[in-house]
Symmetry: C2
Subunit: 379 residues, 2 copies
């Protein structure tokens, strides 16, 4: 048997769902997880408990892995370089991944390759924020620490220099960006292999609530073909220029005046691609595995006219399992994806997918199920 061993760093739900997608390929899957209770650690056979911030832990884990990939973007770039020097294929590699780890590096690189972004620059203090505002249309301004943020954390919208003190307290460089007047957020998901093969999923609409992804509609409704094509091209260009291997999610703003601006990059399977599990011929997880193994990629096209994903957040009601009875009986086509996580208010603990020909119906079914699981809908 020459089936490879994939080493996954991080035990979250992305690792869990990547393992699920890897089982049919017959590959071996090894997990480095913070705790035995982590989402993926519950369902993977070969689990090592350890700290991904420790290089020797990573090195010991890497022995016996044919390739390493990641559930998150928090492994220090210098550790990734050390693993590469040891001869372990790290996918995506550190030279690519740094653009998802460091928003400053990301913006500089996108500028260099000519991909449109919100107006931005690194700012040094609150007064510099005021100067940045004055260079454009004034406040509000978006401030982001260049490292460590996700799901709205590490991001501030400030209305004055006085409000801009907090982002600087962490001692991490701060990026200022114009607050874009967008009509909606889109995401362009692509997958690229070391070989250079790449596939693009249909561009989706991503609806956020309190800075956290809530609903994804695939494909994005009423998106002009030329904008959809432009978004796919932007994502494919970024993947190629940055040398991404694996899944790349490009979060985009669609502006009121019809432009597309890059908001964020993620180099791993992404929440905006969860719909592909039930809605595409090949899921983002399966294609990520194929990409990091340099196997030919699977067809990314949709299987249904519309697919909707709604995240299930924790509510006040910890017993989601008993909600299955109602949800499954109400909608025999509903696809539930739970992560094995304890319920905490606001925590992403799962998602649901629905698909069909009538978008209103597909949306209603997904929203009802997610709300019922969370406990905000009780009938």
């Amino acid at each position: 048997m020459t089936f490879p061993v994939v080493g996954m760093v991080g035990g979250g739900q992305l690792a869990r769902m990547t393992h699920e997608a890897g089982i049919p390929l017959g590959i071996r899957f090894k997990l480095l997880s913070d705790t035995p209770q982590d989402s993926a650690a519950q369902v993977v056979h070969d689990v090592v408990i350890g700290d991904y911030r420790d290089l020797e832990t990573l090195r010991a884990f890497a022995r016996g892995c044919d390739v390493m990939t990641f559930d998150h973007e928090h492994v220090p770039t210098e550790h990734l370089r050390a693993l590469e020097s040891d001869g372990i294929p790290v996918r995506p590699g550190p030279d690519a991944l740094v653009h998802a780890q460091d928003k400053g590096a990301m913006r500089a690189r996108l500028d260099a390759i000519g991909v449109p972004c919100p107006r931005h620059r690194i700012v040094s203090d609150p007064q510099d924020v005021a100067a940045f505002a004055a260079e454009g249309d004034g406040f509000p301004v978006v401030l982001k620490t260049v490292r460590g943020g996700y799901d709205g954390k590490g991001v501030w919208v400030v209305g004055s220099a006085e409000e801009a003190a907090e982002p600087f307290r962490a001692g991490v460089p701060v990026l200022a960006e114009e607050k874009v007047d967008f009509v909606r957020e889109l995401a362009a998901n692509v997958v690229r292999s070391p070989h250079g093969q790449a596939v693009a999923y249909p561009v989706v609409e991503s609806q956020q609530v309190n800075g956290v992804c809530d609903t994804v509609i695939a494909p994005a409704p009423d998106l002009a073909d030329e904008l959809a094509l432009k978004a796919e091209e932007m994502a494919l260009t970024i993947a190629k220029e940055i040398g991404v291997v694996g899944h790349l999610a490009v979060e985009l703003f669609q502006t009121r005046d019809g432009r597309l601006l890059v908001n964020e990059l993620a180099m791993r399977p992404h929440n905006s691609g969860h719909w592909t599990q039930d809605g595409a011929i090949t899921s983002q997880f399966a294609n990520h595995v194929r990409a990091i193994l340099d196997l030919p990629l699977g067809d990314p096209r949709p299987r249904a006219k519309w697919t909707v994903m709604v995240n299930v957040l924790g509510g006040d009601y910890p017993d989601m399992y008993s909600a299955y009875l109602h949800c499954m009986a109400r909608d025999p086509q509903l696809k539930i994806h739970m992560y094995g996580k304890d319920v905490k208010p606001g925590r992403k603990v799962g998602h649901v997918n629905t698909y069909g020909d009538d978008l209103d119906d597909v949306l209603e079914r997904a929203r009802h199920a997610a709300g019922y699981l969370r406990g905000t809908i009780t009938e």
Copy 2:
């Protein structure tokens, strides 16, 4: 968290694929496996290595399981009864499962509930086989040991009393059956919950090679609606009358004169249902899990006009992984399902699924991929 623990006895590919289907439901999965190398033991976190024939091993395994189910039908009926007496839900239960374990009990029960079977009776010795032949159209006669056979093992087709000695050597009762003049084999797959809810998958055509399932076409081509309905009704009736919980596969002969006769029963996800992983709204594995947990069942309808499954058997060529390059590049829609098993000639080591609108194309793609993986097609 009140998510249940499912205990699976047996580490084969059915357990592997049931685990895969259970991950999205957030349930806990515990495996009793013969060896750590077993197909499912490679991909499940919580694995106990032990002998399912030993009652105390089963009892220790059952502690902490909310429900127990099976990868195979070999657990002794008396052990299942003991577990039930201990208060462990065993699904399917021993009173149902005995009909998949013992072909004599199966035939007697199907006769009692009026389900058509090939002419049959228990025979005591080769002379009795000759008498059985004389009672009908003569030789050839099919002989089966009532317990322990699968995939053509424990089955003999004999042309004379002289040829009939071997089946009696094992000391297991022997069932004689007429050799049915069939035009093809069909399978009706249904799933039933303790609640009594049941769903029927489309009836499929199952093509055997040397007594082993080779190709499954869903739905069975050119099957008259009334015959398809009759097959589904037969399977639903058997499930209800026998009290099956979980998946039931009813293998059928379609005779030259337009009748349907039951060949075999299996009470677990079945090779004739593997197409549902990629071809149905809810797979047989997901519905088996839902059934044993008494959750509402998922929609069994097909997602494509045609879905074809072809088994991948071991050939002379042990390195199937390197064949992925060709297979995936040739057909980006191909679905490969490998079981993590070492290649041995004739052993089922995986299967492929294809789907689409054109049956000839779908068949060609599946057969090419399975042949290429096996090594019998090299271009």
